[in-house]
């Protein structure tokens, strides 16, 4: 491979181009307010004035809401989908095929096409403008169930047989033996569900009109929707709100790359 250095240079240059907007975002957050639109590669003087604009109660509240909603959705979804996937893979019951087909067929329904009726369903259940409205509809995802099922299909049978001989019931078997061994599927799906919920903008925008429950994505998007945009605050807010996910990303890089491979979902 004589051409290796050429390839590496090409790839590194392209990587830097991809990273450049992110660099501009964080660098600009540290500029002096009046200097924001002065094109430069480095702030003339590092200033925290922009960042000070961000730390107001509304911002902190929206970060708190997003963290709470994403964490709850992820935790509950993992429990529900692993249970459902396990039953579909390893337990025997009448109507299994029909139930599985019904669940899988919901994969063909794209979210955008059900936004209107989903809103109407939630309104009639009285869960609009609440945490319940943000959380409950986000939980149900056939792809998560499908991936858990695939995972449990390959699960070693001997473990269950041994547990059965010991007189261990199905529920205890699942909680004490199967769940702890499900890490290879739980880790990538946790990342996928957390990022997916954290990233969601449309659903929180539609289902909640109260400032109390506003998520960070809606808060940030609202800042650029008026006639004049407070750019200093927007850039600083965007940078600050990117930090939690970046930290997660840098800590879990390996699992994330692995997870994309395993799950193929965002």
């Amino acid at each position: 491979m004589k051409k290796e250095p050429v390839k590496i240079i090409l790839l590194v240059v392209f990587s830097i181009i991809l990273l450049f907007p992110i660099y501009i975002l964080f660098m600009s957050a540290f500029k002096e307010p009046g200097e924001l639109f002065v094109v430069s590669l480095w702030p003339r003087k590092i200033s925290f004035d922009n960042l000070k604009l961000v730390l107001n109660p509304k911002f902190l509240n929206s970060i708190k809401n997003s963290l709470f909603v994403s964490a709850t959705v992820t935790a509950v979804a993992m429990i529900l989908h692993s249970m459902c996937g396990y039953a579909l893979a390893r337990l025997d019951f009448p109507g299994k095929k029909l139930i599985f087909t019904t669940i899988i067929s919901t994969l063909m329904i794209p979210t955008t096409t059900i936004l209107v009726p989903l809103f109407m369903v939630c309104k009639s259940l009285g869960i609009e403008n609440s945490y319940a409205g943000l959380i409950i509809p986000a939980l149900f995802n056939a792809y998560g169930i499908f991936l858990f099922r695939q995972f449990y299909l390959d699960f070693p049978k001997e473990l269950e047989e041994a547990a059965e001989v010991e007189g261990c019931g199905k529920v205890r078997l699942f909680v004490q033996i199967v769940l702890p061994l499900s890490r290879p599927m739980i880790v990538p799906l946790t990342i996928a569900f957390f990022l997916g919920t954290w990233n969601n903008y449309l659903w929180p925008l539609i289902i909640n009109k109260k400032e109390e429950y506003q998520t960070i994505q809606v808060y940030l998007a609202n800042m650029v929707s008026g006639y004049s945009t407070p750019w200093n605050e927007v850039i600083a807010t965007a940078a600050m709100s990117a930090i939690p996910v970046f930290l997660l990303f840098l800590l879990l890089q390996k699992q994330l790359k692995e997870g994309i491979k395993v799950t193929g979902i965002k």
């Binding site: 992110i22 501009i24 459902c84 039953a87 025997d92 199905k170 990233n199």
Partner: protein
């Protein structure tokens, strides 16, 4: 006695299975299946959310048929799909193939850099690129000026706005799809390629006749998911342009959103949703047929 014991145990297993499945099944039923049925039902009514529903038969569908704004919006969706999907596909495949051949430690840095934009949310990406695209004082126009090019309007231009949005979509999704391709390429045993090289195959031939045919499942997966996603691009457009300037970025999904939630035409919005749903359904059936044919060949 033994027999009844077994059937008792089996009945217990059935009950446990149903208990395990029930929450998810109920949730999917209420929040996915009922909405699609409800959309179909509402599409035969005129409803503004406040007054009583009025049954109008197929009027909403007839209106859709004649609504030029709707078809123009769908045409923009198609334009976006036709530009974005092949570009994303080729770029991510190209970079995956390139990265798969390097052995240097720089590979890890490169993969991480490609994936970084994926860790940014669509709203952050939208605001950031609005800042970069800024007509008078943005970084992109500064770069254009440095290269001796003229000042561009970007998101403010009817001709450029849709392309500008596609650039952001590519920026976000390139790394993710590249990693998918890369892991598919890595799953091909090295010996296949070595054998071909020994037989005197060039690098392009190895790619064309060994690598590419063996990653067809991944290729189809990426084509299907990206096309379906491209029909649903909504958040970026809502934040960056709101369909403007002069409707240049008003895609089908945005038109539905606007009719339903801004104009409160729930019946008409539902009819449009049903249409979009069935078009995507037809599309995914065609794609699925293609995929199963692949498997039938036993690759």
């Amino acid at each position: 006695m033994k027999k009844s014991n077994i059937s008792k145990r089996r009945r217990k297993e059935h009950l446990i299975a149903y208990a395990f499945i029930l929450p998810d099944f109920l949730g999917l039923f209420i929040f996915v299946i009922i909405p699609i049925i409800y959309a179909f039902y509402i599409s035969f009514f005129k409803w503004d959310f406040i007054n009583e529903k009025i049954f109008v038969g197929a009027a909403n569908y007839i209106r859709m048929w004649k609504d030029m704004n709707w078809w123009n919006a769908m045409l923009r969706t198609l334009k976006l799909t036709v530009l974005y999907v092949p570009l994303l596909f080729c770029l991510s495949l190209f970079f995956a193939a390139l990265i798969s051949t390097i052995r240097s430690k720089a590979g890890s840095f490169i993969k991480t850099s490609f994936l970084m934009p994926f860790a940014i949310t669509s709203v952050i990406a939208s605001t950031l690129w609005m800042f970069l695209y800024n007509e008078k004082r943005g970084y992109l126009n500064a770069a254009f000026k440095a290269l001796g090019l003229s000042n561009q309007k970007f998101l403010g231009s009817g001709k450029q706005a849709l392309v500008c949005i596609i650039v952001v979509l590519l920026w976000i999704n390139l790394g993710y799809n590249m990693i998918l391709f890369l892991s598919a390429i890595k799953d091909i045993p090295e010996s296949y390629r070595e054998a071909a090289i020994l037989d005197g195959a060039g690098r392009w031939q190895v790619f064309r006749y060994i690598t590419f045919p063996l990653i067809r499942q991944t290729s189809i997966f990426i084509l299907v998911t990206t096309t379906i996603a491209s029909f649903q691009v909504l958040d970026l457009i809502m934040v960056m342009t709101k369909g403007g300037p002069a409707k240049a970025t008003e895609v089908g999904a945005l038109y539905i959103y606007d009719r339903s939630f801004n104009m409160m035409e729930m019946g008409y919005g539902s009819a449009l949703s049903v249409f979009l749903f069935f078009s995507l359904l037809v599309f995914s059936f065609v794609q699925m047929r293609l995929t199963s044919e692949e498997q039938g060949e036993g690759v």
